[in-house]
Symmetry: C2
Subunit: 429 residues, 2 copies
């Protein structure tokens, strides 16, 4: 199915807001078999919106997904533009008015007069429940020149748009296609896209026709998504699971999780499972590891805290790293990294310590330790381990990659702890 | 001048990359008087790109800014599409070839064969130097049906696009307009858009015709941008400075800086000026303050480090907060916030300590201290101060707003220190 994204909002054109909805929808629509050919942003103007919608259908779109401009103010003209293109009147829908009233009354408030505006729906359209906000989504269909044309309209607030997409729009699109679309996403860390492709090339080359595979890279991570499409749900599920399990076997510990999880959430889960508590000592990451770990709700169950030891004095005074080791080896060195990890564990009374020390840049590099040189270290009662990494010349990238490497070192060491006797001699991966 | 943004790339349509370039360009083009009416993303297809470009001019665009698809691989077809629309041949430009060769030789490498492809420029176009990468930008013009039509083409890599925009594209657009466009941006923190508008309403109502004002809100901050356009540079500069200085006077300490700075960079600058060093103790912000402070290059000159004291034990053991105070008042309380700030200062041997403690959510709230309750505290030898804030029910939003509030508390207290005798009795703002 050919699709077109239409984003409405002066604030997007003016660059006051980055359009993250387009990326989110682009990825999800591709998953359910919609081929998005064009993504377009226009301002809050009824004629311009109607013109863009008309043109999308003339260009062959079978589906246009419109976001933004669904609020109750005079700037919000998306609904009127859609109604005009589809030749429908706006009518107050009693059930939608009920949803909106209920949203106010459960908060102990009275619905304002504008609530009725939000309950208006183009005649013949379906209203889609908005579990995260007030304005409902809209779903309309028509047949023009023998072609079926669909429109899905959602608010621009990202979590409302995502909730309506997942609750209503994506399931309807799947149902329309006379086919089930199932997918599984493996989340990998520490291996680049081309290396992953080489590792699983044989499996990918032999995938059944109903399966497709995509690599979705981001900083330090690559998601591998396998999608199955077919008329028979059981067959699609079987093919998907067979292929994904085979890929997971080959990729081994490079895969840290599936679906919508994060590396920090996985580390928290492993710590909780094992009854362990973590503390961190950060130099070059400057608090980024702590910030990621505490972004996970319920973090306090397995994270005790951390020290950002940015100065050498704080490494010595707060964490007890011997000054002579820093003097002899430099702050960016294996013994300092190990001492920081051990000290974090000891000071917080934790079971596991992890630490970073490195040259984040943009200055401070030397021939031996250029910008991007980073040590990450892990410490537990019976084992410790440090790894040297070489990243980029970009400070923000180095911080992000170092934090990911530190979290991944914890994950891999905990996996080893389960698999057999611990050792400090083996490779990290 | 009517403008149109055209972004090229399958990876954008598929949602693998968020299109941050469109927001950056939207804001900068508005500043130089380009009225962006449409922003469009299409895939790596020569016919589709050429069609979108043609259509933009037919719709009245005097300028199309194209980004992406300028690399050396077979996917990169933007240059060919632009050359087709403008009816020009691609030709290897010797000076551009020289730039590209120099870029390789200064890195001790030999230019690969594809270097010549990147040196191809449509006949009659200008090549724009790319200080951050290999592929040059392009600038073309034509007159069609009596209308002057411009195209600026740049690589999709954000820092390359930004460098070419600032070095070549934006100055050319300003020069073209027979008018100078000057702007100043005041960065404010802690006051919402509507309150700011009320504070400066009188000045804004009386602005001269050549000036416009925009509010650009983001989490916890609002930028106020004043833009002057006119034929006479001196007059525009004078009007701009008069108005902006008047607004700055009224907004007072709500303004923390101008232009492209950040709150954390301003705090670093104030600390350095005063010869002071800072340490932090973070509970609910979980490392976010440290992470923001250390994201500033050269942070170690004024930031000693921090402790993320996530558990109550770590508040007691590492930072010496009396257990009975936590017991009596709860961890989210004024005395605990003040004790954390004082302890951070003492433990790191810093001049200034700052701390946070709060209920980040999504759970953990009580009737007295609902989710979003946060204390931020400041400690210095002669003064200490704590402020209670009430934010939202969203964990990530609460962390970000708390970190901003803590940095702003440091800023305001340092300003008071300069302005007169310190006191712990006055308001924070």
């Amino acid at each position: 199915m050919l699709g077109h994204l239409l984003t409405v909002g002066d604030e997007i054109l003016l660059g006051q807001i980055v359009n993250t909805n387009a990326a989110w929808l682009g990825e999800r629509l591709a998953e359910v078999g919609v081929d998005v050919r064009r993504s377009e942003t226009v301002g809050d103007d009824i004629g311009v919106i109607a013109g863009a919608l008309d043109r999308a259908y003339r260009d062959g779109a079978a589906l246009v997904v419109v976001t933004g401009g669904l609020g109750p103010t005079h700037d919000d003209v998306t609904k009127a533009a859609v109604a005009r293109v589809f030749g429908r009147e706006l009518e107050v829908r009693p059930d939608v008015l009920g949803w909106i009233e209920a949203r106010y009354t459960t908060r102990g408030r009275t619905m304002p007069a504008v609530g009725r505006i939000m309950a208006e729906v183009p005649a013949g359209f379906d209203a889609l429940p908005n579990p995260k906000g007030t304005a409902p989504g809209l779903w309309g269909e028509r047949v023009l020149d023998g072609r079926r044309q669909l429109v899905a309209v959602m608010p621009g607030v990202p979590h409302e748009m995502e909730a309506i997409s997942e609750g209503s729009v994506l399931p309807r699109l799947v149902a329309l296609q006379d086919a089930v679309v199932l997918s599984r996403t493996l989340r990998t860390v520490g291996t680049g896209e081309s290396d992953l492709a080489a590792m699983i090339g044989e499996i990918v080359g032999a995938l059944p026709d109903d399966l497709t595979l995509a690599y979705l890279p981001s900083l330090g991570e690559v998601r591998v998504r396998v999608t199955a499409r077919g008329a028979d749900r059981d067959a699609a599920r079987r093919d998907l699971d067979t292929a994904t399990d085979a890929i997971r076997d080959v990729l081994g510990t490079t895969v840290y999780g599936e679906g919508a999880t994060t590396l920090e959430a996985v580390v928290h889960g492993m710590l909780r499972e094992r009854g362990l508590r973590l503390a961190v000592a950060e130099s070059c990451t400057g608090g980024a590891i702590s910030a990621r770990l505490t972004a996970v709700p319920g973090a306090s169950a397995s994270f005790l805290g951390g020290v950002t030891a940015y100065s050498n004095e704080s490494k010595v005074d707060l964490l007890g790293v011997p000054a002579e080791v820093i003097e002899a080896e430099g702050a960016v060195s294996e013994p300092v990294a190990l001492a920081l990890a051990a000290s974090a564990r000891a000071r917080f009374g934790a079971d596991v310590g992890v630490a970073t020390t490195g040259v984040a840049g943009p200055t401070g590099g030397t021939p031996d330790k250029p910008v991007g040189t980073v040590w990450v270290a892990f410490d537990r009662a019976e084992t410790s381990r440090a790894v040297r990494l070489q990243f980029t010349t970009d400070r923000a990238v180095n911080v992000a990659l170092s934090a990911t490497a530190a979290l991944d070192l914890v994950r891999r060491q905990l996996l080893r702890g389960r698999a057999g006797p611990a050792s400090s001699a083996g490779p990290a991966s």
